[in-house]
């Protein structure tokens, strides 16, 4: 049976070059980078090389990069660390309605610690209006955090415009760029932001490693206390092999970004264009043009996401969904709800996220297996039955 991985939004495979460069650090180069002897030298140098590679990818200075254990840690560090560092100036933060839970829940924790939180709404495509961000900025606002692109629906946000406005107001702007770094060009100086999160498993690097970029001069309180690793900003013995892998993945991403974007966009657009012609009552979610090159997200009416996932899985196709049943919290995607999609329709959400290994044949296979799956679930669905009856009655 054909096996097609279309869940690159969740994790990407390691590129062979990345695996190659990691291996020695799982083997003879096992030393602690903080060790002041020969065994520490190679790992220490390797980390600094990786730092340069990551900095290069996002147009930053190497010393501004802090390695973390995940994108989620980067977001926790950014939201809590930046807000706490400035709490003498004020205790109000602003984030968008569609942030990843690692940003949203960090902001909610700040609320428990006495901060106030304002949420910026999005439009039906999931776009944040810069004017709405400004509306929420008060005299005591110390942090704004808006993601660069949404991982569920692919919408890319106008960060440059938002940054211009936050700069005018003198407020620190952090952006969760976990879905964009390594996939589309991200240049921190061009964007004009103050802090940025990224993660390795999004662009063919390892899991369990990420980074936080903080512009020189911006104060941040460390999340992890202990030794003086990462310039005293993030304690803990470094995950050397993963960091080395992250650096290599960054280097490869920079070198082949244009080609990757072209490849992914072709596949994405093929599915976005053809699926709605094969299946009735399906909605494309996210912005039609300003979206991540590999993200094709839909809501399929009258049926539920996990059931779709399971049937697709039985046909060898791996994808993800934002339905309540697929979320541990049993709540439908907050992103889709914030975009004004009904709870009912949000249950039928499905995301195909393409990767470097995917081909046009993969798209065609999906186009072949999806319609019978949708039909089958609709035949079982009381919602579809009701719809058929009312549309017949309406004639």
């Amino acid at each position: 049976m054909r096996k097609i991985y279309l869940d690159n939004a969740s994790s990407t495979p390691l590129l062979p070059e990345v695996r190659e460069v990691i291996l020695p650090y799982l083997d003879e180069a096992f030393g602690n980078p903080s060790s002041m002897h020969e065994w520490g030298d190679t790992p220490r140098e390797a980390i600094e090389t990786a730092r340069e590679q990551v900095a290069q990818l996002i147009g930053a200075d190497a010393e501004e990069i802090i390695f973390t254990g995940s994108g989620t840690e980067s977001n926790n560090f950014a939201v809590k660390g930046l807000a706490l560092a400035q709490q003498n100036k004020g205790r109000h933060v602003v984030v968008s309605d569609i942030e990843h839970f690692s940003v949203l829940n960090s902001a909610r924790t700040l609320e428990k610690w006495g901060f106030e939180l304002s949420l910026v709404p999005v439009d039906k495509h999931g776009v944040v209006d810069p004017a709405d961000v400004v509306k929420n900025i008060r005299k005591d606002t110390v942090l704004v955090s808006i993601m660069h692109a949404n991982n569920e629906v692919g919408t890319i946000e106008p960060i440059k415009e938002i940054a211009r406005l936050t700069r005018e107001k003198g407020v620190v702007l952090h952006t969760d760029a976990i879905a964009t770094v390594g996939t589309i060009p991200v240049n921190v100086k061009e964007l004009g932001i103050d802090a940025l999160s990224l993660a390795g498993n999004q662009f063919y690097g390892p899991k369990g490693v990420g980074a936080l970029w903080v512009r020189k001069g911006v104060r941040i309180m460390p999340l992890l206390d202990g030794g003086v690793q990462e310039g005293g900003r993030r304690a803990g013995t470094e995950n050397v092999s993963a960091i080395v892998g992250l650096g290599k993945a960054a280097e490869l991403a920079e070198a082949s970004m244009t080609a990757r974007i072209e490849h992914l966009t072709g596949l994405r657009d093929r599915l976005l264009a053809k699926l709605p012609s094969r299946i009735e009552h399906v909605v494309v979610t996210g912005h039609p043009e300003n979206r991540l090159p590999g993200h094709a997200s839909f809501c399929v009416e009258f049926i539920e996401g996990e059931a779709m996932l399971m049937l697709l899985n039985s046909q060898g196709v791996a994808v993800t969904s934002g339905s309540a049943c697929t979320s541990r919290a049993l709540k439908a995607s907050h992103v889709l709800i914030a975009m004004g999609i009904s709870h009912e329709l949000a249950q039928g959400s499905i995301l195909f996220s393409f990767g470097l290994d995917n081909t046009a044949e993969d798209v065609d296979y999906v186009l072949e297996v999806m319609p019978p799956i949708v039909d089958r679930l609709r035949q079982m669905s009381p919602l579809y039955a009701k719809f058929i009856k009312t549309s017949k009655g309406g004639k």
């Binding site: 539920e304 009912e344 079982m380 669905s381 919602l383």
Partner: protein, 130 residues
């Protein structure tokens, strides 16, 4: 994908008794699309036994499997026996459900019971068949 037992997978991939009954003796609906699970049970009753059961379900793998197994468990039983079907017995029959899917077994049992109660209340009003 949550870790589903083989029995759940079997009932999900090959659900029994999907459909509707024309002129059902009782109908029971439980859940709603906002929550993500909705089941409608249709029953035909003869001599106080469930002669036929059909269902339609909007929901996840567990929801579909639960509906299917409930219809199987209740088919041919007396109304009293069917009313004794509990979420627990449904989950057991399916050889276990993941913790966060137990509510699906609640829905299945409740929807069936609603259908039976619907039939019984119609009968009391003198409008039902026996």
């Amino acid at each position: 994908m949550p870790v589903y037992s083989e029995k759940v997978m079997e009932h999900f991939m090959n659900p029994r008794n999907v459909g509707e009954i024309e002129n059902p003796d009782g109908v029971g609906e439980e859940g709603n699309p906002v929550c993500g699970d909705m089941m409608t049970f249709y029953i035909k009753v003869k001599d106080d036994r469930l002669e036929d059961i059909k269902f339609k379900t909007f929901g996840c793998g567990a929801a579909i499997a639960v509906s299917s197994i409930v219809s199987e468990m209740a088919m041919g039983k007396t109304l009293d026996e069917a009313l004794k079907i509990t979420p627990r017995s449904v989950a057991d029959e399916l050889e276990g459900l993941p913790k966060n899917k137990y509510h699906c077994s609640n829905l299945g049992a409740q929807a069936l019971h609603k259908a039976i109660k619907n039939y019984q209340s119609k009968k009391k009003k003198g409008g039902g068949k026996s």
